[in-house]
């Protein structure tokens, strides 16, 4: 009876994702781009929820919508707004671009919709337990390497931005 809810939610999320994603690269003001990027990430988090991956959706909201958007907004704050926002190529080659894009679009659509949907549905009960089991049992070493990578990136970012005192 309520079978229409999930496709309706998916349609709304799809339109919002693609529209705001296109807005990111079409907007003239960089602040608009950054906030539309945050909205795109929020909609992708909604798609994760539709797929039944609640933990990944939570990470998405925490890391992308929270941390990365704030970081990008700081970057926008520290840099000037460019007077020439677009590149100077592609404007004179519309027909070549269309000729190049249309076969790729058709190919992608064909490949996308020929996947055989698996008969077994995803297991109930959320994805936190299998995700944590995989990360901390099978992928424990990459997990530690990831923490070292984050530490190195943090130190590197501080060193790059730090002003020379002398």
């Amino acid at each position: 009876m309520y079978d229409f809810i999930e496709p309706a939610l998916f349609a709304v999320l799809t339109i919002a994702t693609i529209a705001s994603g296109a807005g990111v690269i079409l907007a003239n003001r960089i602040t608009t781009s950054a906030l539309l990027m945050a909205f795109t990430f929020l909609n992708v988090a909604g798609m994760f929820l539709l797929l039944g991956a609640e933990t990944v959706a939570m990470f998405q909201v925490l890391i992308y919508v929270g941390a990365i958007t704030v970081l990008i907004l700081y970057g926008v704050m520290f840099t000037p707004q460019s007077p020439r926002p677009y590149g100077l190529f592609f404007q004179t080659q519309k027909w070549w671009a269309a000729l190049f894009v249309v076969p790729i679009a058709i190919f992608v659509a064909l490949v996308s919709f020929t996947f055989r949907d698996s008969a077994t549905l995803a297991p109930k009960g959320g994805d936190l337990l299998p995700l944590a089991t995989s990360v901390f049992r099978d992928f424990a070493f990459p997990f530690e390497v990831a923490s070292v990578l984050l530490l190195a990136a943090m130190v590197g970012a501080i060193v790059l931005v730090k002003r020379d005192e002398e």
Binding site: G21, S33, T40, D127, S134
Partner: protein
């Protein structure tokens, strides 16, 4: 589960192409970073879709998504640091103007 898997993959492909177009067309370094984030997020969507629909016990795709989160955070931090230090040397973030390393 009424939404087919291909629909999620199609949305992921469209989002990835939007990010690619942003990297190619925009000349502001911060907007290029944003477009790279869009591409990474499209990849995450495809990985989660395949992981939820095909694997019954473990969540290998979601594990990869978690590692992509980590790498994306590191990438955007170092990228913004590079943009800021480049802006300190030359007062522009236009990647067509930053050409001191061009041969």
């Amino acid at each position: 589960m009424a939404v087919p898997l291909g629909a999620f993959i199609a949305v992921s492909a469209v989002l990835f192409f939007i990010g690619t177009a942003g990297v190619l067309v925009r000349r502001n370094a911060v907007v290029i970073l944003m477009s790279v984030e869009l591409m990474l997020n499209a990849t995450n969507l495809a990985l989660v879709a395949f992981s939820r629909r095909y694997s019954s016990i473990d969540e290998r795709g979601s594990v990869f998504v978690v590692f992509i989160f980590v790498v994306a955070a590191a990438e955007v931090a170092v990228g913004l640091a590079i943009v800021l230090s480049a802006y300190r040397n030359r007062p522009t973030v236009d990647v067509d103007e930053i050409r001191s390393m061009r041969g």
